[in-house]
Structure formats: C-alpha cells, structure tokens
C-alpha cells in the first residue's frame, strides 16, 4: 500500500498536509554539503577582501622581469605573468576589486530599485485620481525601457559616457539591475497595501505614514535579500566581463577580468595566467548562487 501511495499526485499530498495534525518536520538536518563548501569558499573570499596580507606577503604590483611567465611552482603557486608578477598574490588582492564592485553594484540596484518600486506602488494607492496612476505607469515604463537592453550592453553605454573606472562600472551594472528589484518591490507593495491588516490599521486611526513604515515596508522588503543574494554572483560576472573588455579598472590593477585580458596574448605558452583568475570568477559566482538558493529555500520553508 505504501509504495503504491508514493505514486499518487503531489497535490493530494499537499492538501493532506493541511488536514493532518502537524507532525515534527523531518527536514531538520544540517545544511547540504554543497552549501557548506560554498559557504567556506565565500568566507575565504571575504577574508581575502578584508585582509589579503594574511594569504600572501608578495606585493601584487612588484614586477620581476627576469621571472616572467614562470609556471606554477612552490615559490609561485599560480606561476607568474609576463612582467614576473606573482599570479597568486594578484588573484588574492584582486578579490577586493571583483567582489567589492559586484557587491556595490547590487547595493546600488537594491536601494534604487526599492525606492523607485515603492514610489510606483504607493503612488497608485495613495495619490488619488489619475496623477497616482500616471506616476505608477511612468515608473513601470521606465523599468521596461531599462530592461529591454541587455544588461552588459547598457552598462557599456553608461561607461562610454561616464568613462571607465571602479565607481562607474559599479554604477553601470547597478543601473542595469534596477528594474528587477523595482518590479518586485512594486508588485509586492500593491499586494501588501491591499492586505486586510492594512485596512485594519486604517480602522484603528493610524496615519498613512505610520502604516507604510510599520506594515508596508517590512512586509515588502522581505523579498529583497533572496533576490540580492542570487544577483550578487551575476554582478561579479558582469564586472569581470566589462573589465575584460577594458571598461572597468585599468591595468595594472589586479582585477580578475583585467588579468584574464592580460593573459590572453600568451595563453598558448602560459595557460596559468588565464586559468587561475577564471577559476576564481567561476567559483565565486557558483558559490554565491548556491548560497542564495539555500537562503531562498530556508526562507520559503519558514513561511509554509
């Protein structure tokens, strides 16, 4: 009977869960091994961002022309580049640029997107008549316009106007992800402002500002952390991509994308120059995405 029942529809099982008296949850195991590995890797990266000296005492900018293009060895773990700079040291110090720019870009997108989304969502509800709807509509179209361009292309346009550099690339990538947050926050705002508990707060005579601060904001912003956690990885990839094209930090800054670009000409004779920065880009993106998904599962599980 039991094995037979395992095959029945999933929806029946779901419906069942609400009927049955609650049983202790079985999923009380620790996090999955993949999450642990990803977490450890991200932790190491963050330490490298804060204190790169802990991992290496070699100056990433010191050139030793006689040591050019040395393969990995005990002395140079990841080998050296054309100018004899230690690639391990450059990868470690480069974490600061790649990770920090990625985080800043996400932060810019989260803050700007949340504010714009809130304004759009609230104006439709709070400003009476056509004006409110017009404001809402305007922001909606703005999000449409921004997201109709591929993110990297849009960032390239911004950098072309503002000039390459660390801040500009963070802003450029941030702008490209604003619509994602803006749309989620807007729809969440519309949902929450229609909820019964907002109506009740109005019945208690609470002012609109208090209702927005105490009820709407906290319930709207719960959706953000998960979205951001998954998006950070994508931002890092975008930063490296733009840097590779020469639109980000300029050589000799040891940004991972820049290092990839520098190694391109000698890749046939010195594979280590490109492989190690590339590995770190890939691993960071995967690790952050795995963590983001785990966070999402955790929050979803807590809700149900």
């Amino acid at each position: 009977m039991t094995d037979l029942l395992e095959k029945v529809k999933a929806d029946a099982a779901l419906a069942q869960a609400s009927i049955v008296t609650p049983t202790p949850r079985r999923r009380r195991r620790g996090p999955a091994p993949s999450v642990l590995v990803a977490g450890a890797f991200v932790l190491v990266l963050l330490v490298a961002v804060a204190l790169p000296q802990l991992f290496t005492s070699v100056d990433p900018f010191r050139t030793v022309p006689t040591d050019g293009l040395k393969p990995p060895s005990a002395e140079h773990w990841f080998g050296t580049d054309r100018l004899g700079r230690d690639i391990f040291s450059r990868v470690v110090h480069g974490a600061r640029y790649s990770i920090l720019i990625g985080l800043s870009a996400t932060a810019i997108a989260v803050v700007a997107g949340s504010i714009l989304g809130l304004i759009a969502g609230l104006s439709g509800r709070l400003i009476p008549g056509r004006v409110g709807l017009l404001v809402d509509e305007t922001f909606g179209r703005l999000f449409d316009v921004i997201s109709s361009f591929p993110g990297v292309l849009l960032a390239m346009v911004v950098v072309t106007f503002a000039g390459p550099g660390v801040q500009n690339i963070a802003v450029a990538i941030g702008i490209a992800s604003i619509p994602m947050y803006g749309r989620v926050v807007r729809s969440q705002t519309l949902l929450v402002t229609r909820a019964d508990f907002v109506t009740h707060a109005a019945i208690y005579g609470r002012s609109r500002a208090r209702v927005v601060i105490e009820h709407v904001l906290p319930n709207v912003l719960v959706a953000i952390p998960v979205l951001a956690a998954i998006d950070v990885g994508a931002s890092i990839l975008a930063v490296s991509g733009l840097s590779f094209l020469g639109l980000g930090p300029q050589a000799p800054i040891p940004e991972w994308g820049v290092m990839l670009a520098e190694s391109r000409d000698v890749l046939r004779i010195a594979w280590w120059g490109g492989v190690f920065p590339g590995l770190f880009i890939t691993a960071s993106v995967i690790a952050l995405t795995v963590l983001g998904r785990a966070l999402q599962r955790h929050i979803d599980g807590r809700k149900s």
Binding site: M1, T2, L4, L5, E6, K7, V8, K9, A12, A13, Q16, A17, I19, V20, T21, T23, P24, R26, A195, D196, F197, T199, H200, A201, A202, I203, Y204, G205, R206, S207, E214, H215, P218, N219, V222
Partner: protein
C-alpha cells in the same frame, strides 16, 4: 459482491478497522462503516477528527507520507489494499467521484469547465469523442447550470461560487460513478445555493447511487443523510440512523455538537456549555433603545462594472439605526451588498449619497483627518482573522496596535493586551507567539481582543464565525455575547448564516441586491416574514435540528 442489505442496495464500500498514520502519527484509529447503493452516509466531526482522511483513503489519495492499514477495505467488492496505481486511477472518477470543498482551487484555472468534464469522459471512455461536447453540455444542464452551451467555454474564475461548485460536481459525475464522495461540498455557499447542491446529491440517491458526505454542518447532514457517523480524534464515537443520532444522541460529544448549533431556540443561552437537557442562560443585556449610537440614512453606493458603461448598485437606499447595547443583524446572500454597508459604516468606503452619523454627529461626511481621532469608537472583526494580522507581528503587538492612537504608554498598552487576552479566554503565554501558529478559534479570539482594546462603542462583525467549526463558532459567539452584556457594546452583525443571526440579533435587516427587503425584530422577520425573498431564504434553510 451481491449480498443484499436491509436498504436494498449492494455494498459499495466496506471498511473494517481502518487505520491511517502520517509519519508514525496515527490520525484514524480503527474506523468501520459501509456505504450501500442508494444510501447517503455522513461523516461528521470537527476539523482534525480524521473525517477527510477517512474519505480520502477510499480513493487512495492520502498522500505519500501516509500508511493505510485495515482488516478490510473493499471498494466495489475489490480489495483496495492491493490495488495498483493504474487500478486506483480507473476507480477514481469511474467508480467513485470526489467533490471537494473549494471549487476554485479544485478546478484548473487554465482550462474551461468543458475541458475539465471532457477529460473525465475521455479518461473513462464514457462516450465517443464526437459525442463528448454534447455529453458535457448535458451534464452541466443536469446539475442545474443555466445556459450550459455558453457556460461550457467559461473558466472557473468567471463563474459564481454556486455555479463553480455545480461544475465541479458535474465533472465528478461525468463518469457516472456509483459512489460520490463529497467533502464539505456546501461550506462557504449561500443557503439557496446550498439547497441546490443538496437537492443534486439527493437526486443521485434516487438513482440508486451512493453518497458519502463529509461535513461539520449538522443541519445539512440532517437534510440528506440516511446514516450518520460521528467522529472525534480519529475514532467513531456514535453511529446510526440519522433521526436516531440527531434526534436522540447517546454520546455526550454528539449532544455538544447539536447544542452548539445557533438557532432561534438557543437565543439568550450559552452554545458551548449547553447539555442535552438544559441550557445555561447568557448574562442578561439591556438594549437602550432611546440612545441611538449609529444611524444610517439613505445610503447609496455604485461601483463601475468591468463592462463599459454599466454600473453596479452595490448599496441602494439603505437606512437603519443601532441603539446602545443592541445587536443588529444584516443578512443576505453574497453580492447583496452587506459587506459594502459594513465598509461604509467603518468609514472605509464613502457613500455616493446618504449619511452615517455616530451619536448624532456627522461621521461619513468627515474627511480622513477628522475621522482619525473618532475611529477607535468603531471596531471591526473580519471573517479571516489571519489575513488581518501583520504576518511579522506577535499577538501582543497585534492587540496593542488598536490602542496606539489613544496614546497609551507602551507598558500600559502591554498590560492591557495581556489583560484582554485573559478576557477572551486565552493564556497570556500566547502574547509572544505569531498568529499563524495559533488555531482558527484562537485567532478569532485574538481579533476580538484587538477589537475590544480601545473600548469601542460599536463593533462591526463581518461573518465572524463563518470559517469556524460548529463547536469553535459556539465558543466565539458566546464570548461576543458575554462581552457585549458586560460592556454594553453595540454590534452590527453581518452574516449569511440565518441561524447565527437569529441566535445573536435583536433586530435584523434583510438585504438583496443592495436593497433592504425587510427589517424589524428578529422573531417577527424570521417567524412572520413579509417579503417573498425572506420567505425563500428561510425555506432554503435545511430543516433545523434545533429541537435537540
């Protein structure tokens, strides 16, 4: 199986000593019953009594985490414990049709109801493909859906609750099953629609088919069931002929269930503490007819309809007065405008014409800033308490919110929240809990505590007990009555449940299509109805079991 039984039908289902467990937690402990052809057996009990699980085990849909054992589980004469998935599938819909409570979630939102029915016809090879459409139209007509040719192309969300439920029944009947399992088929439906559904199931019985009805509504059960099985905590506490069980219950639990049904005869007495023989009177309350706390004059409200140009008169010339300490019931079917009236009274919707006055002072005419200081005098208890609580807040914060505008110091607001929680019969340990971890009855108590916190003159109750079990509903209604007697609060009590309204109200207002069709003293209106509509409403009521 060809054995005959006293009722003359063959045995459709035989269950002996059925046990169902989920992850080692047993929820059904040894239940036995049979359903014969041409017979309606009702499983009755509160939520958590195991009645739905029992019914689902008959169609093999108890879920992957469950273990089903029984001495015998024979369906259509076959041993169901040894059926394969394929055989189960043929059995579902073919031999046993399942009708669930909520037709909106049971019907696929992306498929028309015609497609839904044709799927069943095709799965069970009922008719040739060419004839499917005609047969589906026929089925819809047979369950009393008007204009079936038109409706067949519509989707679940385009139908009203009653039509939707009938469409679901049509799809359950498509394969002409010998047994219909109906799980709370009429809950959340208006009385008139409820009557149609019951008649529909009754027609199946006349055709010699079996019905297994799962319900917590004893009035519905009394109307249609031949035999009743009362369940509690996964066990059968009483079973027998409907008249015997409901007319002369032997078990205390059955008596409690019966006594908890609000009706005319239970007026002025406790529902939750009644025994079979005597009822405890509620504390006496005095309505001060000379002091009118709320008056509504000629209220009108029109909403622009989705169709261009047409308008919906949600409220059309509604007037009433509410005295201090009085309960005014507002009854009507869904769409009658009773919730709009509640919203106008609460100052959430501005009437197009007419005025609401509080204690003789203007109320609906005030702007939002002028209303704010007065708002705490009017409180609201809604049907679904959970959605009226901020999901991030604890019980304490939820209750304290309604007193914030009074400017109480934080410590005092906390004390008051704790005191109120005790007042509504809950443990103060719940203060730090989140409402979603509470039971339905506890949640509604919290929302009553919240409504009481600012010591209002008037509480508007919109279907406050409709989503609750009979026994929990009884407790909530008793609590409201006690508090009202204690504080002299006036209640505006909106409900579609005539029994509840008769139990709680002093006067009643009957609404239809936004108009008042009848109003007056509750006994006058219910015992000597003047308007045809009121008569029809009362006639749709399942024959009451209130004699018990």
């Amino acid at each position: 199986m060809t054995t005959r039984n006293p009722t003359g039908g063959r045995e459709l289902v035989t269950v002996r000593n059925l046990r169902v467990a989920f992850d080692d937690t047993a929820v059904v402990h040894g239940v036995s019953f049979t359903v014969h052809a041409g017979e309606c057996v009702a499983l009755v009990g509160e939520s958590g009594s195991g009645k739905s699980v029992t019914a689902r085990s008959l169609v093999g849909l108890t879920g992957a985490r469950s273990t089903v054992t029984a001495d015998a589980l024979e369906i259509d004469g076959r041993d169901a414990l040894r059926l394969t998935t394929r055989e189960w599938r043929r059995l579902r819909g073919g031999f046993a049709g399942l009708v669930l409570q909520d037709a909106l979630v049971s019907l696929d939102p992306l498929r028309s109801i015609g497609a839904e029915i044709r799927e069943v016809l095709r799965t069970h090879h009922m008719v040739p493909r060419r004839a499917e459409l005609a047969r589906a139209v026929e089925l819809l007509a047979s369950v009393g859906i008007p204009q079936p040719e038109l409706r067949i192309a519509q989707y679940a969300h385009q139908l009203s609750g009653g039509l939707r439920q009938r469409a679901l029944i049509a799809s359950a009947l498509a394969a002409d099953p010998a047994l219909v399992i109906a799980d709370e088929p009429t809950t959340a439906l208006d009385v008139t629609v409820q009557k149609q559904i019951i008649d529909l199931l009754g027609a199946r019985l006349d055709d010699g088919k079996g019905v297994l009805l799962i319900s917590h509504d004893l009035a519905v059960v009394a109307d249609i069931a031949d035999r009743v099985i009362v369940m509690k905590n996964g066990r059968v506490v009483e079973e027998g002929e409907t008249d015997a069980v409901l007319g002369a219950p032997r078990h205390d639990y059955t008596r409690q269930l019966l006594a908890a049904i609000p009706s005319a005869s239970s007026r002025g007495t406790y529902l939750s503490r009644a025994t079979a023989t005597d009822r405890l009177p509620l504390p006496a309350r005095e309505a001060d007819r000379s002091r009118i706390v709320l008056s509504a004059q000629g209220l009108h409200k029109t909403f622009a309809s989705a169709r261009r140009g047409s308008e919906l008169h949600a409220v059309d010339d509604v007037s009433f007065e509410l005295a201090r300490g009085e309960v005014l019931g507002i009854v009507g079917e869904s769409g009658s405008g009773k919730s709009t009236v509640a919203n106008i009274v609460l100052g959430l919707t501005r009437p197009d014409a007419g005025e609401v006055r509080l204690d003789g002072q203007p109320w609906s005419a005030l702007n939002e800033a002028q209303k704010r200081p007065v708002r705490s005098r009017l409180q609201f208890i809604s049907q679904d308490p959970l959605s009226s609580f901020d999901p991030r807040w604890t019980v304490e914060r939820v209750i304290a919110e309604s007193t914030l505008v009074l400017g109480l110091p934080a410590a005092e607001a906390r004390d008051r929240a704790a005191w109120l929680l005790g007042r509504v019969g809950l443990d103060t340990a719940l203060l730090t809990r989140h409402p979603r971890t509470l039971s339905g009855g506890q949640r509604q108590r919290v929302s009553i505590a919240r409504a009481l916190a600012p010591e209002p003159d008037i509480i508007v109750c919109d279907e406050p007990a409709s989503a609750l079990d009979v026994s929990v509903q009884a407790q909530v209604l008793d609590l409201l009555a006690e508090i009202q007697a204690d504080r002299g609060t006036s209640l505006l009590f909106v409900s579609h449940d005539l029994g509840v309204v008769h139990h709680v109200s002093d006067r009643v207002l009957v609404l239809k299509d936004g108009k008042v069709v009848e109003s007056g003293d509750v006994d006058d209106v219910f015992y000597r109805p003047q308007a045809d509509y009121t008569k029809k409403l009362l006639a749709s009521l399942p024959t009451a079991v209130s004699s018990a």
